[in-house]
Symmetry: C2
Amino acid sequence: MARVVLGMLGLGTVGTGVVELLSKHRHLTLKKVAVKSLDKDRSAMPSCPLTTDVDEIINDPEIEVLVEVMGGENPTVSYLEQAIKKRKHIVTANKEVLAKHGPRLFALAKEHGVAIFFEASVAGGVPLLSTIHKGLEANEIESITGILNGTTNFILSNMEAGKSYEAALKEAQDLGFAEADPTADVDGFDVAYKLSVLAALGFGHFVKPDTIYKEGIRNITEEDMALAKEFGYRIKLLGTAAKGSSNGSSKNTGFDVRVHPTLVPLEHPLASVSGPNNGIVVRGHAVGQLTLIGPGAGKLPTASAVVGDLMNLAGALKLPDFASYFQPAIEASPASAAPPLAWKCPFYLRLVVKDTPGVIGKIGNIFGTHNISISTIIQRGVEGKEATVVILTHDVLGKDMDAALDELKNCDFLSSLGNAIRIFRSA
Amino acid sequence: MARVVLGMLGLGTVGTGVVELLSKHRHLTLKKVAVKSLDKDRSAMPSCPLTTDVDEIINDPEIEVLVEVMGGENPTVSYLEQAIKKRKHIVTANKEVLAKHGPRLFALAKEHGVAIFFEASVAGGVPLLSTIHKGLEANEIESITGILNGTTNFILSNMEAGKSYEAALKEAQDLGFAEADPTADVDGFDVAYKLSVLAALGFGHFVKPDTIYKEGIRNITEEDMALAKEFGYRIKLLGTAAKGSSNGSSKNTGFDVRVHPTLVPLEHPLASVSGPNNGIVVRGHAVGQLTLIGPGAGKLPTASAVVGDLMNLAGALKLPDFASYFQPAIEASPASAAPPLAWKCPFYLRLVVKDTPGVIGKIGNIFGTHNISISTIIQRGVEGKEATVVILTHDVLGKDMDAALDELKNCDFLSSLGNAIRIFRSA
């Protein structure tokens, strides 16, 4: 196999894994790694010089491929731009940079005749991107939906065992699954970036991350988890990217891209995705439904995706015009996601109410007014005190549910709106 | 995109699907299709001539790629050989031909500088082969295990609802999921062929199908299904191909390739694979465990795999030396599977016994003599009549279980050995 010379930005968890896996592939020669500081104690030191000067890598004409595993938006994006202009191929694990600057970076790469490989940017070790791009090549992709963030899935899995959100988050932090500031994970930003990348691959358009509806897991309680289980569901944080709208009409209203907690039926394969794993359902017009489940993060799984990209790239590098064969067709302009008002799905609602006579009737009337059909309603609690009302609905338009909840909030009998969570519906 | 001229052998279910999907890809020109008879009424007639003379396709120098979806061993294998010698690339869905003649066909293809693509030969629409070959390129594959036959999974899923094997088989036949002679499916031959192909891709060796241990589903009863569920399992027909032995020792005893019914824990992703779907767990040294679930058969899913191969092949055909990049490295000599005596796994046993005092003690003694540790034993039935004893064991060596069962069969208290089924253990 022809020798390919690599440079790498970053030597954190993933970078260390890349060094470890590369040791078995001598034709992939890591020439230099750029790090923030040379003082750090490194357990897996690569057999190549470290530098704190990124320019040493970007300006080295012998380096053909830049492996970017430093993460973050800035200054990473400018390093990538410079490297592309120096005609280096890119292998990156950086969903944030791709989601925010993908259209520009891919246009730039095309202009300079280089390729960007990015398997590791979504779903860690799960070869989701190559599956969509090559494995399902004969399919028009209709939707991609699933558990794309291992941290929140770990937290939710632990909450099923009865832990509070706070306790489960703390355990995730203690084990290194969650950051000290968990915002990117628990509020859905990380999933939104990944959905943008998936939309680019599946539908040819990056979707602007700030147009993607994001609802995180902070408000999920152990009571919600237990109630969901009682009704035959597990609560999972799902990301969805679908062509057209999911409101059931035939009118295509653009891309339906969103992140929110979802009640998934226990018998659905996504319900079996536990701990820090990822699980994704891809729908294609010919294949129907395909599910992939595997490690969404971690040193060796993510490094396996990076090194897989490097091997595929290295094997093809000598082929003339290979970039045109291996690069997905992505439009230069990003798309926007549709607003949530037109989505249709069933809902789970948990209401805390004053236990006065006629409450169920009043709730039923409000829902009826807003075209909401109830499939199950139960009331629990000590008589004369506060009670919990749990409602499962049939399919509801987002705007109808918003309107009904607004009206409910003004009712005297409502102590608090415990939670309103969507129920899984095939995209 | 460059035009590629195709010929096809067979126009059954899959062939019809291929014609349907190809209509969207005008650069893939289907020039001629060979069929058994021109008299058959065909709902999806391709816009190209049909012929009953295979030579018209094999000897046509304009045809670059032969699509083989006629199935069966003979005369198919000789058609493939002739086509390869005429320097045609092959896209095939034929696991039987590959399992039985793969080493020779791949050597012949290498000699004549052509490629054999075979995604559709295993797991229908699930892009399992490209995932192993390209998606997990950076991994050493350790094991591949899963539900590889949709017909038997459909039958077993229906038996869970309380149907007998015979009734479930008849329904599968009525719906077209099972053949009139269901042997290839229900006795494990189909899975064995697929395992041989998977071993070639994952470990570099086809495994001779006649050396593969095959135990089918004919003896599974609805009582077994119900008991399994009671203990937290579902019975699935699993195929496994693993490197080395699975007897827990570090000594590599060759390839462990086998087909048998298995009790899978309800919370395992494979337990959620229902109806005619396939589900496969691949273990790689870096990625850990990856699960794929999707349609294992059917017109459009299987055609999606065939046409995906055609698109990948067509896109790369113009690249010089592409066969060497796209073809997996497969040894010219097939391997043999290890015999079952050295496998270690827990067992489920259902015994029908005469309800005399001390039976449980006698069974316990026999198992103890053969190093078999029991985790659960229960007895059910009307006093004084026949009773059912259900036993779940800890890990047992195959030869120890065989010896214990031989001894049990000679005991007066045993009316019949109801069933002995292996329990899932990560390969």
